[in-house]
Amino acid sequence: MLLEATKLTTESLKKLYEKHGAALAAYGCCCGLDFASAEDVVQQVFLNLLRGNVVAARAPLAYLYRAVHNASLNHWRDRRREAEMPEGELWFTHGTVDRAVMLSLQDVLRELPEEQREAVFLRVWSGMTLQEIAEATETPLNTVASRYRYALQRLRERLGARIERQD
């Protein structure tokens, strides 16, 4: 079933930005951007929606992740000759974990296949259930569940020892 196109109100977009802007910027960083560029890309995606240049689908969050992904790739393609991505830039924060752990989490997220990464972000940092992700991305629930499981498996392989240490 095709998603109905709806125009989001300014207020709802502002709320979406406040709640998910940071996760979307981190997602943009996963696509190869530095944090400042990812922030710009996220702002641009929201401004396009606010100006009515584009119309979001019924599932705005999934649309936003896709839009940020596409815009990030375009941005990366345009700018890759101008600037190299800064080494060791953090786009996550954590109260107790050290820098090396955060960098390795970022590396794993960057290495994940696009669909798996999208599932992890939507589930962990945007708080959607697997059922909601399946509906928003128009993907069968089983597919979403296995993508998510594979992603977690990979993350566990890389961060497992640290999680155990955390306990």
């Binding site: 802007g21 940071a22 954590h94 109260g95 940092w125 977690l152 993350l155």
Partner: protein
């Protein structure tokens, strides 16, 4: 989901994406088509004004030449034959006199008197 997945999920959720700057809403930008249309209208306006100025200058110059040449012709006729000048002026007056059609025209007013 397995318990170990829950554990990992909770662990991942402890990492907070770095905060982003506030969304600044710039004044509503005009549609690119509106801008193009405005630019095209401005260009057309400039071309139109330029053309009108040239046309006006040409008409003015033409009128000046006509008047000058008419005066010269009349002087020449007057010098050669004064009767012919009267005839010429009589002919010209037919063209120059105001129209009889208008309610307030000089001829109509004179005719009433």
């Amino acid at each position: 989901m397995e318990p170990q997945d829950d554990k990992l999920e909770r662990y991942l959720a402890e990492f907070q994406p770095r905060a982003v700057r506030t969304l600044h809403l710039s004044p509503r930008a005009r549609n690119p088509w509106q801008r193009r249309l405005a630019a095209a209208a401005a260009v057309l306006c400039c071309i139109g004004t330029g053309y009108w100025q040239i046309h006006r200058a040409r008409v003015k110059a033409l009128k000046g030449i006509q008047l000058k040449s008419q005066t010269m012709v009349m002087t020449r006729i007057g010098l050669q034959n004064s009767e012919k000048l009267d005839e010429f002026l009589f002919d010209q007056s037919r063209n120059v006199l105001p129209s009889f059609q208008g309610d307030q025209s000089t001829l109509r007013v004179l005719a009433k008197e």
